[in-house]
């Protein structure tokens, strides 16, 4: 919680619904052939259609529609067999046609859900999806206040970019849940190749609606009632962390406000508040947008779209498993914990593929998963880059793990070898040889153990007295004599020899 937030009250229910805009991963815009590439110089990815020049016409990008259907199917939505486009009319300089082509009363999909599960088993939340529809993005206004001229510059590169708008039911019950659910949504859309969900580049934008249900006079059980505070829509949040922080702040603010004003929903118009991230507060925005009338009507320049069952079946067939299914599959197939499966799946499809290749080569999931979590992910985080570029490929890592299992060297030696292979790019055999690691033969080992026992009568006595763990004291000494010895073997052999002495 931020320093600015008033103290949190107890005993009320937080009610949160989200509106998420996701940019679809298409090469070209929704209604023209212009590129959607991010970062080009202003107004260089435009044509008469996305500039809204007189006489220009839109033509639907089929790829955008297909991606949107994929997203809706993954969100368990019903896909309408017939859908149409509508114009949403309003004036703004970054909206060159004076209307946005969107979907109003017949969105292409509705009525879905997405569940988020806490990997530690603490909680889960099923969030209903009211609708998913397609629309074109507006351009970008840059208010040039710094230069002192107060000019506004318009960049229309983004105008016409395909967006999927996802509207949830008010099913979320805490800011933490909202953040976790957004993470799950993002992961799902990235897995499906629907969007890169990059918030910095604006390919994922979130608005949150929040209010509080506060039991009065003991609540319904005691014959009281539930007071609902006015719904506030929060905008301008540019990370999931901001979403969580803004909601935490807003929940506290609403409760404090309610305590003084007792204002309830319906008595005041819905308020829009902007999140000021550096200040850590939400601030009221103008009410104007709430009162505007968009005069929606069917877009006469486009024809309705019909969706066949065959097309849906084909799309479903081409879709890869969503993260939830993948987590369960990894858990079941490789006998790893739900938590481990969650960590692996949350890293993305390529890492899962790496893990599966590794587990396959090792012939066992748990060990492979441990190596992934403790070594691969850690070094990947330190190094940066993607798993696809990671120099130690699964067969190489499997070789190291296999030799640890065989007893050629222990796990910590294995880690050293892994680090050396990673930095030098040499083969495992080379690294093993250069580190002077050679398998110690059994006769040699027996001789070494006998020597140790002779030098450590106290430990021998302790073990004989039943304190078997005292044998651990021999391992360090064994390593000094020969760094290549396997500590497990040394320990087992020493204990065995002491018993025989007994």
């Amino acid at each position: 919680m931020t320093a600015n937030a008033p103290p949190l009250p107890s005993s009320f229910t937080t009610v949160i619904g989200l509106e998420v805009h996701v940019q679809l991963q298409t090469e070209t815009k929704l209604f023209c052939g212009c590129s959607t590439q991010f970062g080009a110089p202003p107004n260089t990815q435009v044509c008469p259609t996305c500039l809204g020049l007189p006489g220009s016409l839109p033509v639907m990008n089929r790829r955008a529609f297909d991606l949107a259907v994929r997203a809706a199917l993954a969100l368990d939505c019903h896909i309408a067999p017939f859908t149409k486009w509508d114009r949403k009319n309003y004036f703004y300089p970054d909206l060159p046609k004076g209307y946005q082509i969107s979907q109003f009363d017949l969105p292409f999909s509705a009525d879905g859900q997405l569940e988020v599960v806490d990997p530690k088993g603490g909680w889960s939340r099923k969030v209903g999806i009211i609708r998913v529809h397609l629309e074109e993005d507006a351009g970008k206004s840059m208010h040039d206040e710094g230069a002192g001229t107060g000019d506004t510059r318009i960049d229309l590169n983004r105008a016409g970019t395909p967006l999927c708008e996802i509207v949830t039911q008010p099913d979320l019950r805490s800011p933490q849940e909202a953040r976790a659910w957004l993470n799950e949504l993002k992961l799902l859309l990235v897995y499906l190749g629907v969007s890169d969900c990059n918030m910095q580049e604006g390919s994922l934008r979130v608005d949150a609606n929040v209010n509080l249900h506060i039991p009065c006079d003991g609540g319904p059980e005691a014959g009281g009632r539930i007071a609902k505070t006015p719904i506030v829509e929060i905008k301008n949040m540019n990370s999931f962390r901001s979403v969580e922080r803004a909601l935490v702040y807003e929940v506290a603010r609403q409760f404090a406000e309610w305590q003084t004003t007792k204002a309830e929903m319906g008595k005041t118009p819905k308020q829009t508040r902007g999140w000021d991230d550096p200040a850590g507060v939400t601030r009221a925005q103008r009410h104007k947008e709430e009162s505007s009338d968009y005069r929606y009507f069917p877009e006469p320049d486009l024809v309705p779209v019909t969706v066949s069952q065959a097309f849906l079946a084909e799309t479903r067939g081409a879709m890869t498993d969503p993260p939830t299914v993948l987590r369960q599959a990894l858990e079941a197939k490789w006998k790893i914990s739900a938590y481990d499966a969650d960590v692996l799946v949350n890293q993305g499809r390529d890492l899962v593929a790496y893990f599966e290749a590794l587990a396959e080569a090792v012939g066992e999931g748990k060990v492979a998963s441990n190596w992934m979590q403790q070594d691969v992910l850690r070094t990947l985080n330190e190094r940066g880059g993607t798993i696809g570029e990671f120099p130690v490929r699964p067969p190489v890592l499997a070789e190291i793990i296999g030799r640890v299992a065989k007893g050629d060297f222990d796990t910590s030696r294995g880690r050293e070898i892994f680090a050396e292979v990673l930095s030098s790019g040499r083969s495992v055999a080379d690294v093993v040889a250069s580190l002077g690691i050679a398998a110690v033969d059994d006769d040699e080992l027996v001789a070494l153990c006998r020597e140790l026992l002779a030098e450590n009568p106290k430990i021998v006595a302790d073990v004989q007295a039943g304190k078997e763990q005292a044998a651990a004291g021999l391992i360090g000494q064994a390593k000094k004599k020969n760094p290549n010895v396997n500590p497990g073997k040394v320990r087992a052999l020493c204990v065995d020899l002491i018993r025989k002495m007994g």
Binding site: P41, S56, L57, R295, L302
Partner: protein, 547 residues
């Protein structure tokens, strides 16, 4: 050989055979324009140099033995609602007075590719809204048959251009009768094709679900020739039909025996000028003589056509015209109260001159990086002050004043009608209801075409009226569209052509309507009629200015 005396079909033939050069042909029509258009004002722009250059290129091509396009050397005038990359496209509006599109309309591109010569852009009612051409921001067109009268509208410039022999063919657009009515009032032949038959890409939109581009010429045969070039699927227009384009010119001569023509008795009620009624009945008689049969039919919902049209069209227009806000191109009011906007400032889309961008084909127009809209949303940078005239912001003031100055009264009236009809609380009573009636009207046509092959009747209730006669009475002006709007609401095709003259020498028009994609029959029936009559050969006694 006098080019003006030849039909378009003959002209193209003459150029192809080398009997006439494209340059000479073009020069002849340009001189005609120069000698008579001062009195008619059919053109907003004549591109003498461009036309002669195009003609010379065609002659060169012929001399080099290269194949010529189907319209080789044919001078064509284009309504100023179609985008041309080499000429301004104004829609006869102050709003677009200096707007130069970066691309050609699909129809213009097809005409050029067929080796037609684009001679200029014709006058019209502002944004195609009107039936008399008096709504042009640049002054009305005069009817060549009587200069004190209107040529009709909104394609009045194109109709007058052909009627006065300034070009053999012209391109018009028809949203509620804007090709057929002026063709009727000017004594020429005008075809409104089936919705979707001709690409709308590059036609500045008035009402997208009704707009359709079509040819205007002296005869059905000439219309057929032009339609063969401009019709056909365009991947850049989602409402464009995919059906193949028939060879309209080749089937014109088949007799009309067995063709059933419907006659709607309600068309002959009060309000129809007796001379027009007579001319129309005579035409029915001529069709009967040509072998067709005439059947009285009922169009039960036609009476609601004008009311329906004046909801649907303004609703779409209110949205289509929202883009003219002064922010990106077009007229922008100067800051300062009561200050008159200087034409010519900031009117051009700042896109590399002559650069042709084709939407939907992966082609990009590049605006110079850092294109500045300078709108100063609330910052007052444009000089619009916040406490000026009760505007919420400098931005809102710029919008309101730019649109107030840039649009004429009829355009404003329709934007307001449409905005009102689409507003929350009124949508169901107006727009939604109009769509339901539109479906009933469409059904009337489907039912009628079970019984007949064509529907005949008047185009306009009266011959050309005097300029200024109806300008004070918008409702009387809207009734000018009585016989034509249903065709657009139903999305079918219609053609109008002269079927006689009043005693005072004004043309009387006849209209035929046909089922969707029955252009071959529309053109054939008209052509057969024109073989029996010579109304379409008459020319106004418009003396050429000497020298």
């Amino acid at each position: 050989m006098q080019p003006a005396e030849l039909s378009a079909v003959e002209l193209v033939q003459a150029v192809r055979q080398g009997d006439l050069t494209a340059e000479r042909c073009t020069e002849a029509f340009l001189s005609r324009i120069e000698s008579v258009d001062g009195r008619i004002h059919a053109f907003l722009k004549v591109d003498r140099e461009g036309a002669l250059r195009a003609a010379a290129a065609i002659d060169q091509k012929r001399r080099a033995g290269k194949p010529l396009g189907p319209l080789a050397g044919l001078p064509v005038a284009v309504k100023d609602a179609l985008c041309t990359f080499d000429m301004p496209t104004t829609c006869a509006s102050k709003m677009l007075a200096n707007f130069r599109p970066p691309y050609d309309a699909e129809v213009v591109a097809r005409l050029r590719a067929a080796d037609a010569v684009i001679v200029g852009k014709t006058n019209m009612d502002e944004f195609a809204m009107g039936g008399s051409n008096e709504n042009s921001a640049f002054g009305p067109v005069h009817n060549p048959w009587d200069l004190s009268r209107t040529p009709g509208g909104s394609s009045g410039g194109s109709a007058a251009c052909v009627a006065a022999d300034m070009t053999p063919v012209a391109i018009g657009s028809d949203t509620g009768g804007s090709i057929r009515q002026p063709a009727g009032l000017c004594g020429i032949t005008g075809l409104k094709p089936t919705y979707g038959r001709v690409s709308r890409r590059g036609l500045v939109a008035f009402a997208s679900s009704l707009d359709q581009i079509g040819p205007m010429a002296r005869s059905a045969a000439d219309c057929a020739l032009v339609l063969e070039t401009i019709a056909g699927h365009d991947a850049g227009d989602a409402t464009s039909l995919k059906e193949p384009v028939p060879a309209y010119s080749t089937d014109l001569e088949r007799p009309l025996a067995g063709v059933r023509i419907g006659r709607v008795p309600a068309h002959f009620g009060a309000g129809l000028d007796p001379e027009v009624a007579h001319g129309v009945e005579e035409a029915f008689a001529a069709f009967r003589a040509a072998g067709a049969t005439i059947h009285d039919i009922d169009m039960p919902h036609a009476g609601a056509g004008v009311a329906t049209y004046y909801v649907v069209a303004p609703c779409e227009a209110s949205s289509n015209l929202a883009r003219y806000d002064g922010a990106h191109y077009g007229h922008r009011a100067e800051p300062g109260r009561g200050h008159r906007a200087e034409p010519g400032r900031g009117h051009r889309a700042e896109i590399g001159g002559g650069h042709r961008a084709e939407p939907g084909r992966g082609h990009r127009a590049e605006i110079g990086g850092g294109h500045r809209a300078e709108i100063g949303g609330g910052h007052g940078s444009t000089g619009f002050s916040k406490d000026n005239g009760g505007f919420e912001s400098a931005l809102e003031e710029m919008y309101c004043r730019s649109r107030a100055e840039g649009f004429g009264p009829e355009v404003k009236r329709r934007i307001m009608l449409g905005t009102y009809a689409l507003s929350a609380g009124y949508y169901d009573a107006y727009y939604a209801k109009a769509l339901r009636v539109r479906r009933l009207i469409r059904q009337d046509y489907l039912d009628a075409f079970q019984k007949v092959d064509l529907i005949g009747g008047p185009v306009s209730a009266t011959p050309a009226f005097k300029l200024g006669e109806k300008t004070g009475d918008p409702l009387a002006m809207y009734l000018v569209d009585l016989y034509t709007v249903c065709t657009n609401l139903a999305g079918v095709g219609g053609i109008s052509f002269p079927c006689g003259f009043t005693k005072s020498g004004l043309p009387i028009g006849f209209q035929l309507q046909a089922p969707a994609l029955a252009e071959p029959l529309l053109l054939r029936a008209t052509d057969r009629y024109q073989h029996l009559t010579d109304w379409h050969r008459r020319r106004p006694a418009l003396a050429a200015a000497p020298g």
